[in-house]
Homo-oligomer: 129 residues x 2
DNA sequence: AGAAAGGTTCTAGTTCATGGAAGGTCAAGG
DNA sequence: CCTTGACCTTCCATGAACTAGAACCTTTCT
């Protein structure tokens, strides 16, 4: 499939997909006309990249994560080690995100949404850790 | 407290903290010697920034989120609207992150960590959505 | 006092894209 | 057949969010 299609399916812009190819993150086949040609498997990788980037992993971290998908020659012990390290990081991010959500949720629930001066922003958020 | 101390407590580099001041995200008091002077409340905001940035929110989004802490003059209806919008976004991120974690966790559990060729990367990850 | 540690500003470079120009390709309709 | 418009190509420039380094000042430690 063409890049436009892959872009739509992955949530990454065509520009970004070409950029990722430039930096060697995901190399695409080429059709006879020179157009990039993406398989469903490529699209899965692109979506995976979109997700991990939007969740705060750097391109280099994504490269590592992607190697879990792609590098069949790698010894699986290596793969496992990388995956474990990333898992720890993801769990930390999950905890932080959950905390952030609970904080905001508390705010939304307790804020009356009018001009009364006791909107719980200050008490609930500004003061403590 | 000095910037080094604030840096340590917030997890942001001193460089980054100065940069955030440049772009008006968090303005610091100044001591008599010209050094920036941070309160505990400033540190909380810095930590908050560190977290939200690392979770993939843009600086502008962080500015909004931060306004939930700081902007006491704002009508609470506005605050509530912003908070609600961010909540939706956070919930989406949480779902994605959870999915990513489950995928990796499955990999780690099922990979035997040796050279056997049936490391479940390909079946478990590369193929399906 | 002298050195190390940490602060200041300023300019420049890096990473991760994103926008736009100039031009080639393709599928559909007149 | 030929044009129109969507989609593709490369290349160069710009933007966002840092990050590094130089040059210099302030505090602290011995």
């Amino acid at each position: 499939m063409n890049i436009g299609n892959a872009s739509e399916k992955s949530g990454l812009s065509a520009k970004t997909i070409r950029y990722y190819e430039d930096i060697g993150l995901l190399l695409a086949d080429r059709a006879d006309n020179g157009y990039r040609d993406y398989s469903m498997s490529d699209v899965h990788r692109l979506r995976f990249l979109q997700r991990s980037r939007s969740l705060g992993f750097s391109v280099e971290e994504c490269r590592q994560l992607l190697s879990l998908y792609s590098d069949k020659d790698r010894e699986s012990a290596d793969v496992k080690a990388i995956a474990k390290a990333k898992l720890t990081e993801i769990d930390r991010k999950l905890a932080e995100l959950t905390e952030l959500r609970d904080t905001l949720r508390h705010l939304v629930r307790n804020c009356h949404g009018d001009k009364r001066p006791d909107c719980p922003i200050i008490e609930g958020l500004a003061g403590k850790d």
